[in-house]
Subunit: 142 residues, 4 copies
């Protein structure tokens, strides 16, 4: 039983995303992480809209970003998103963002999301659709 | 009967809002216009939340921007928002954005908003709350 | 002699680009227009970096946006960018943005850019690299 | 000798900063942290432009965000920025963001910045302007 799933997606850097140093403004990486998470979601059926159908939301409660290398306008990036399985009622992802031209590592990051009902109530156990999703992908459910 | 109402508000330029030329990226002015419109709304009781309470939304359907002067990081701007009264079921604003330090005109703009119900239906006549709002501010209701 | 050049490019809508109505916040279309302009630039050799190599910048001085239809998260858009030739020392583009799923027209727009030297001096005649670019693409140079 | 300096600043939430849940999109907090850092810089003379005058840049290399509470459109926030003194050639800040209306804690965060010369060379010791800045504010220089 594997406990990991991975997605890789690519993106161009927009002119509006670079700062006065002509490199990506550090806050914009949060968008790229979301791009990675959504590309993962499309591949494995765990996108924002898939989750919302189950009357659950998954807000980010923790985000750690480690910047390694600048990315400039004109560059293209590779976003690797890896699902980190946990028994807790959380969704954890690890990310690596590379500059596509030379595969230099630009950023590592980690996000933690929790499950809340649409009225905002925090769930302390995994919702059933998520347990089923884990089984489907052969991930241990704890 | 006056047919105009005006608001003036100020804002600092964020580092994340300037581009690789160290001047405000042109798309960010749309945020400043919304800042102006919302400051107007707070002053006169026509903010986004005031409108939404009446189960109506006012999407922007037209936006014209004329750029006159660069604004740099470290500058402060003055946003002047002027209500342009019309008999049509529309909200029209004209804007002027100045650099605060020397009052140089940086941008003129105009926006047109329409009224739609929360299900998306376009309204061809002014909703009653808006007629009342006009009367309160002594604007001709056409 | 044709006086038009066109590019078509596609883009996904990011979660961070929709507003509390779950539709694209109107200011974000300015990014899509820039995406279209840069895709055009890559196809025809008139990108931001191509221009900058010639020690010239092309700031946007006018931008008109006409909103026709909402675009929601999960939608994909088609951005069509059309070069409008003019004898004046300006770059003019017209844009159409469609929802990819049903090709409904979501936005029409027009931008005007001028040429300035890197010290900010406005150019009243076309820079030579731009005249050559026009000749290369068989556009009348006025 | 105190080893801490603090700034407190306030900000309104923009309509364009909330997501389809009508709460601040989590990535936008990075802007508020930068607002806090810049307000700190204006109070104590360590702003982006102060630093840049010394031919040094201070890119963020690490950013940790912990989300505690939603913030909605219409809310106002208080951003508290605290300088964490260290002997290492780094600038460390801790942040707390509160909802102004009830002072509920919405976010805690920490950032680490390093010193690089304008050509990108990383500095392993504090630049002299920074040592002087520390002395001026009575911070131990380690």
């Amino acid at each position: 039983m594997s406990d990991t799933l991975k997605n890789s997606t690519e993106s161009d850097i927009r002119f509006s995303e670079v700062d006065s140093m002509s490199v990506v403004w550090h806050g914009n990486y949060v968008k790229y992480l979301e791009d990675g998470r959504e590309a993962f979601g499309r591949q494995y059926g765990l996108g924002y809209l898939d989750v919302y159908k189950n009357k659950v939301m998954t807000p980010v409660v923790k985000l750690d970003l480690n910047y390694k290398q600048y990315i400039a306008y004109g560059d293209r990036i590779i976003i690797e998103t890896e699902f980190v399985n946990t028994a807790a009622a959380k969704i954890i992802f690890k990310y690596k963002i590379y500059r596509a031209s030379d595969r230099k590592l630009a950023l590592t990051a980690k996000s933690i999301q929790v499950f809340v009902e649409t009225d905002g109530t925090l769930l302390f156990t995994n919702p059933s659709f998520y347990e089923e999703w884990k089984k489907k992908w052969n991930l241990s459910v704890g």
